[in-house]
Amino acid sequence: MPVSSEDVNKISKLAKLKFSEDEKKKLQNDMSRIIDYMDKINELDLSNVEPLENINETENVFRDDKKKETISREEALKNAPSKTDIFFKVPKVIKK
């Protein structure tokens, strides 16, 4: 299988997600199938094809540099599970 169990562990760690051993097996299987399919596509000779970074063919969508205040601080903080009157709060991220 092209995706190892270490790969699954690494990816779940990067995604900050926890899985049971059974789920990990299933993920390893699914991801391996995706990679296999990509390998199939890689069989095509694409040396003369420009890489496509975006599937949208529109270009240059801009807005002018104009400021606008949209929501109040109260609204901004409304859905936060942990907050003060003015700040969002998270568990301490720096250990001294």
Binding site: N54, R63, K67
Partner: protein, 491 residues
């Protein structure tokens, strides 16, 4: 730094600069991009990373990024795209930063540095691209929690990446000053390091001077003052050469600089282990900048500092030193030119006088008070009002300095400097009979000094002229005093 170590090793340094762009609104939403607002007041569902929101690109940062590239002789890449840089950190609510990866807006440029100790040197610019800033974490308000302010989240940044062409802390400092000056001239950023609008990551390794293998590099993150950058580089060179001298090996490290201890501290390798899994940003379309737009931006570039120096030399007949000082800061150059515009007698002598007055008097006050010229209370128009009577020899330099030194305290009073001069009886005494009388009086009062002078003690002359000027309350035209004084002695 120990000299023998510096003789043996050469540091190899590359920089990554993050510059906050002068824009009214953020890069992907219309929230105000201001520095000093109340926490979490300039935020919206887009910059807070709420599901279902979409970014819309602000045109101004794109133009400013291209202008920066043009000023640094970069290739402007017409077709570029944005990418997602994925990592989890609380100050990044979306879980990814929108940046440019495969295709930066500008690449392969250079900027030149030189000083009296460092000969002209090209520092290659690898790339300049656009990205968004993250929020601010506040760690010291609580023991157990980190507080977050997302006002900064989404403020447009320009990232400038150099090739490892810098070889000493002095070169780094020169380069940073040059870049800062360029960005200020272009009005891309105010480059205020204290407010974090210019931040710097330093990549550094050392190699033996006579060898060609470069050592393993380390990266010092988030330095935000010229002094810290200089000290951090010094300390890191010491740390690396120390390890190598003792037979050790440098491991690739991300470091923080501890300002209090003045040492670079490696982050735990776990924290430094990055895997950003870049992929193209599906919510934003391609940027496709036409040659005509690039040409237009090129034509809109303001005069560079180099061009200004040349023009100041030609137009105002200033020397190298004067031109360089007066153009060092764009705002000082503007102050000088506005002063000159208000000078009545327009000739090289008066331009030089105005320039030197700004260099010697105005800049001295700015340095002493540690303020920028924008916060200087005397307007160029008021300064010209003071310099006009000096140029016309109506007042002496001493008098002008006296008025000038009292100006900052009473700015409103100097709408009519000429009235003050009359009111306080400050007009320069050019009346020869009056001056002659005083000279005679001083010589009569100091017969011994006069004898000494006549016997060849030339230094006593300063004392005697000082006495004369004192009696004339500094109002005399020194040229006339010296002239008459010499006539007296020869008698």
């Amino acid at each position: 730094m120990q000299k023998n170590i510096l003789e043996k090793y050469q540091p190899v340094i590359g920089l990554e600069l993050h510059v906050q762009v002068n824009s009214e609104s953020k890069i992907f939403c219309s929230c105000p991009s201001e520095f000093d607002a109340e926490p979490n007041t300039y935020v919206c569902p887009v910059c807070l990373g709420h599901p279902g929101t979409l970014p819309v690109l602000n045109k101004l940062p794109v133009e400013l990024c291209i202008k920066t590239g043009l000023a640094m002789d970069c290739k402007i890449n017409t077709k570029t795209a944005f990418a997602r840089k994925n990592y989890f950190y609380p100050d990044l609510p979306k879980g990814y930063q929108i940046t440019q990866y495969e295709s930066p807006l500008c690449s392969d440029g250079y900027t030149e540095i030189y000083s009296k100790d460092i000969p002209l040197k090209k520092i290659r610019i690898k790339r300049i691209h656009l990205e968004e800033d993250a929020g601010k974490s506040i760690h010291d308000l609580s023991e157990s929690e980190t507080f977050l302010d997302f006002n900064r989240c989404g403020i447009p940044l320009i990232e400038i990446v150099t090739e490892p062409d810098l070889n000493s802390p002095e070169e780094v400092s020169l380069f940073l000053h040059k870049v800062k000056q360029t960005l200020e001239y272009l009005e891309v950023s105010d480059c205020n390091m204290e407010q974090g609008s210019l931040r710097c990551d330093v990549n550094i390794s050392v190699k033996l001077k006579n060898g060609n293998t470069t050592g393993t590099k380390t990266e010092i993150k988030n330095l935000n003052s010229f002094k810290n950058i200089n000290d951090a580089i010094d300390s890191e060179i010491k740390r690396q050469t120390g390890i190598i001298e003792n037979g050790g090996k440098i491991s690739f490290n991300t470091l923080n600089y501890d300002v209090k201890e003045k040492i670079t501290v490696p982050l735990r390798s776990k924290e430094a282990e990055n895997d950003y899994r870049y992929f193209s940003e599906p919510d934003l379309v391609y940027l496709n900048i036409s040659d005509a737009q690039i040409e237009e931006l090129k034509n809109s570039l303001p005069e560079s500092s180099e061009e200004k120096i040349l023009r100041f030399k030609k137009e105002y007949s200033l020397n190298d030193y004067e031109s360089e000082i007066l153009t060092g800061d764009k705002n000082i150059a503007e102050y000088f030119e506005r002063t000159v515009n208000n000078i009545k007698i327009k000739n090289y002598a008066s331009f030089k006088l105005a320039g030197n007055w700004i260099i010697n008097e105005v800049l001295a006050i700015l340095n002493e008070k540690n303020i920028s010229i924008r916060n200087f209370k005397i307007s160029p128009e008021s300064l010209a009002k003071l310099l006009n009577p000096l140029i016309e020899e109506k007042i002496s330099r001493t008098t002008a300095k006296e008025i000038f030194s009292s100006m900052p305290a009473e700015p409103g009073k100097f709408s009519d400097i000429e009235a003050i001069i009359l009111e306080k009886d400050l007009l320069q005494v050019s009346d020869k009979t009056e001056i002659e009388e005083i000279i005679k009086k001083v010589l009569d009062e100091n017969p011994n000094e006069l004898l000494l002078l006549k016997s060849g003690k030339v230094k006593i002359m300063n004392f005697l002229t000082g006495e004369i000027m004192k009696k004339l309350k500094g109002k005399a035209n020194p040229k006339i005093v010296t002239e008459l004084f010499n006539k007296f002695i020869k008698k």
